[in-house]
């Protein structure tokens, strides 16, 4: 009886101790989760970090879990603590618990990637075995690792048939532009037909209206009438008088829409491009625009982002990735693309590309192919 009581008491004590330790760890980490913009919360984080960085390796899963709740700044604070704890406890890292964290897709992608990086740093063979399991991972950064492995196999194989099969697999699974381009280029060189437009989900069919005045780049900030009324039948007053919406499509494989083709090579002007995107469900989405011109983007009347910069580099695919959401049914996408006064040959372009993906990078296709 006494023995049973002793065992029960011991278990109770251990549980209590564990609970206390766990609670205090969470409390200790909280300042890193609370970090805000402009240095707010820095003092508390500065106080807490040295103690957090001395936590035992058993706290690693909890720190990874804390990354789920932290913003990008808090993520970096926690990352620094994790790296220090791992460095000091190389032989005591709880690998299996970290692998479990990594495999749990309910954890955030960046936190899972950090878990993978820890395994990669201290148990590289185990990490290598895990990589193929990321091939359909919702976290682009992990999925990329698996696609890279397939691409690497394709690069190395001598057999044409196997090479094509591997590049096909890489193209199907890849979500990042450089990997998609490599696989599609190799397949095209091998005589395979690839529909990159469909694969990447570029929006090819738009209506545009313009030009509007952008003298001294002031038009970027002027709310011209298409911003408040998207009716495609309505006429507006532009630089050259009354103007109306006109259909505008791209035939470029990578969805480039060259506005110069619509209005001629003009300077100090703006144009609007509008399309309607049908979504089967309400869903989170990444709105991905590429443009070397200044631009604004509205989705369903809400301004998502504006970028007042001209010709700093080329137009790239996925140059800006803006998080937002699609509503079920019709979504109105409105872009304002501005051209400035520069006259150098590398400033002629007045263009954009645009696609919508889910957070994992998979293209979302509109259920209508032609805009209203």
């Amino acid at each position: 009886m006494n023995k049973k009581l002793f065992i029960l008491s011991s278990i109770f004590l251990l549980l209590k101790l564990y609970s206390k330790s766990s609670t205090s760890s969470r409390e200790l980490i909280q300042p890193l989760i609370n970090i805000q913009s402009q240095g707010k919360g820095n003092k508390e984080a500065i106080e807490a970090w040295p103690e957090i960085s001395q936590l035992p390796p058993s706290a690693i899963p909890e720190l990874l879990s804390a990354m789920n709740h932290a913003n990008n700044l808090g993520d970096n604070w926690i990352r620094a603590a994790l790296n220090k704890i791992c460095e000091q406890n190389i032989k005591k890292i709880p690998t299996q618990e970290i692998v479990n964290f990594l495999k749990d897709h309910s954890n955030q992608g960046d936190a899972r990637h950090m878990a993978f990086q820890i395994i990669q740093s201290y148990q590289s063979l185990k990490a290598k075995k895990l990589i193929p399991t990321f091939i359909d991972d919702p976290a682009p950064v992990l999925r990329r690792e698996a696609v890279e492995m397939v691409l690497d196999q394709a690069r190395k194989t001598e057999k044409e048939e196997v090479k094509i099969k591997l590049y096909r697999k890489a193209l199907q699974k890849a979500r990042e532009v450089d990997q998609i381009k490599e696989a599609s280029n190799q397949l095209e060189e091998a005589g395979q037909e690839i529909n990159l437009t469909q694969l990447m989900g570029f929006l090819m069919n738009w209506h545009t209206i313009g030009p509007f005045d952008n003298t001294e780049r002031k038009g970027f900030s002027i709310d011209y009438s298409p911003e408040s009324n998207g009716d495609l039948n309505r006429k507006h007053e532009g630089v050259d008088g009354i103007i109306s919406w006109k259909e505008f499509s791209s035939t470029d494989e990578l969805g480039l829409l060259d506005i110069n083709q619509q209005y001629g090579e003009m300077k100090e002007v703006c144009a609007y491009a509008q399309t309607t995107f049908n979504s089967k469900t309400e869903q989170p989405a990444h709105f991905r625009i590429g443009s070397k011109n200044a631009w604004k983007m509205w989705v369903n009347g809400k301004l998502l982002f504006a970028r007042d910069e001209y010709h700093r580099g080329k137009t790239r695919i996925d140059q800006f990735i803006i998080e937002g959401k699609l509503q079920k049914g019709e979504n109105q996408i409105l872009l304002k693309i501005c051209q400035n006064e520069q006259t150098q040959s590398w400033t002629k372009q007045w263009e954009f590309n645009f696609r919508i993906t889910d957070p994992s990078g998979s293209a979302i296709h509109s259920s209508n192919l032609i805009s209203k």
Binding site: N42, I46, E47, A48, R307, G313, R316
Partner: protein
């Protein structure tokens, strides 16, 4: 217990050694140094070494208390930011701290996310990246604080990449984050990472770095932009005086005592007046405009390399040109100099050591690193340190 660490860092006396090279372009921020000339530099010497780097970078090494600090960026989108410490003696990696970029990492192919050079006050080191992430670490590599200025201000970015190297003055970190869309300079408390002040700055891409003029509590910071120069008090951000005749957005100004050499209308020498709130123009010469690298000081002379790879030596006080010679360019980094020699690396990795005579300059030796070099070297008592995208070198004279 919690505060003790912070206080230890903050109260710890500075361990700056006379041979330390704490920031971009050295102790005076002008590429010059009082170190004796070193002329027998060779990668074959027994104390020379070459260490591999984990990522790309244009940033220069800084030298603090026997350590070398350097940044690099790696990953398919350069999203991994490295802050590295190496031993000056043998090039061994002491630590590699990795962070995630929270700002934009797209850059022109020639540059990269690890473009700005680190800065130190001898107690802590600060690393700023093109993503506008800023990290303050102690010399052991422990995080003191961090900031994400593009996280705070999402339009603070340059599609070609940013490269301005921050400075420390009166316990304030001054970081220029100047671009077309959301252009500002901010003063950050070196102890806490909190913003002390933030000044809206002229819109326009700007790759220049702030420089310090004067000493102690009277020290001012010169901010350069396409509009000209704004001389500010680092503690408050308030402007003491300005110069509005425009300036370059690539080569930075060079302080020389109480004179500031500004890449404007060629080159313009400005001098703060004793009241501290006004300035005078000492001279201006449109034949002295620098190319990509900034002017460098050597004693009472300065040197500029123009876009045509012509090196010009002139007097600081008058702008009088003493001599000219052609060097093998092109170069992206700035040269560094002792009282008698100039050390200059072109983009092909060819180092040229030039003896600075009274009436002529003469190449006395060359060093071929065989890799693209875009950074500005750091000088120590008997060696020169520099990096490529792949390697860090110590080129020793013994």
């Amino acid at each position: 217990m919690k505060y003790s660490y912070l206080f230890f860092i903050l109260l710890c006396p500075s361990l700056v050694l006379s041979a330390d090279w704490l920031n971009f372009r050295g102790p005076q921020g002008n590429g010059g140094t009082s170190i004796s000339s070193i002329t027998q530099l060779s990668i074959e010497n027994k104390n020379s070494w070459k260490s591999e780097l984990p990522g790309r970078g244009l940033s220069s090494p800084i030298l603090v208390n026997g350590q070398i600090f350097l940044t690099a960026s790696s990953g398919p989108k350069q999203e991994t930011l490295h802050i590295l410490s190496f031993s000056q003696d043998n090039g061994n990696l002491i630590w590699d701290r990795k962070f995630k970029a929270t700002g934009r990492t797209i850059c022109h192919d020639k540059t990269c996310v690890a473009a700005p050079t680190m800065v130190s006050d001898g107690r802590v080191v600060i690393a700023q990246f093109s993503s506008n992430d800023i990290f303050c670490l102690d010399l052991k590599g422990d995080l003191v604080w961090l900031r994400g200025l593009t996280h705070d201000f999402p339009n603070a970015a340059n599609g070609l990449g940013m490269s301005s190297s921050p400075v420390i003055s009166n316990n304030v970190l001054v970081a220029q984050v100047e671009n077309d869309a959301d252009s500002f300079t901010t003063g950050i408390n070196l102890n806490t990472g909190e913003t002390i002040w933030k000044n809206i700055r002229p819109k326009g891409a700007n790759w220049t770095s702030p420089v310090l003029l004067g000493k102690g509590n009277e020290q001012k910071v010169a901010l350069q932009s396409l509009k000209g120069i704004s001389m500010i008090n680092p503690s408050t951000g308030k402007e003491s005086w300005n110069y509005q005749e425009g300036a370059s957005t690539i080569p930075s100004s060079t302080p020389a005592g109480d004179i500031l050499l500004v890449p404007s209308n060629g080159l313009t020498a400005l001098k703060s007046l004793p009241d501290g709130h006004s300035h005078t123009q000492v001279w201006q010469d449109n034949k002295l405009g620098p190319g990509t690298g900034s002017p460098v000081i050597s004693g009472d002379r300065f040197l500029v390399i123009n876009k045509a790879n012509v090196l010009t030596c002139a007097k600081i006080k008058t702008g009088e040109i003493l001599w000219r010679m052609r060097v093998q360019g092109p170069a992206s980094g700035s040269p560094v100099a002792t009282a008698s020699h100039l050390y200059f690396f072109n983009e092909d990795g060819l180092g040229q050591i030039i003896k600075l005579g009274e009436t002529e300059g003469k190449v006395v030796s060359t060093i071929d690193l065989g890799e693209t070099i875009l950074c500005t070297p750091a000088l120590a008592q008997s060696a020169l340190f520099l990096r490529s995208d792949k390697h860090l070198w110590k080129i020793s004279q013994d």
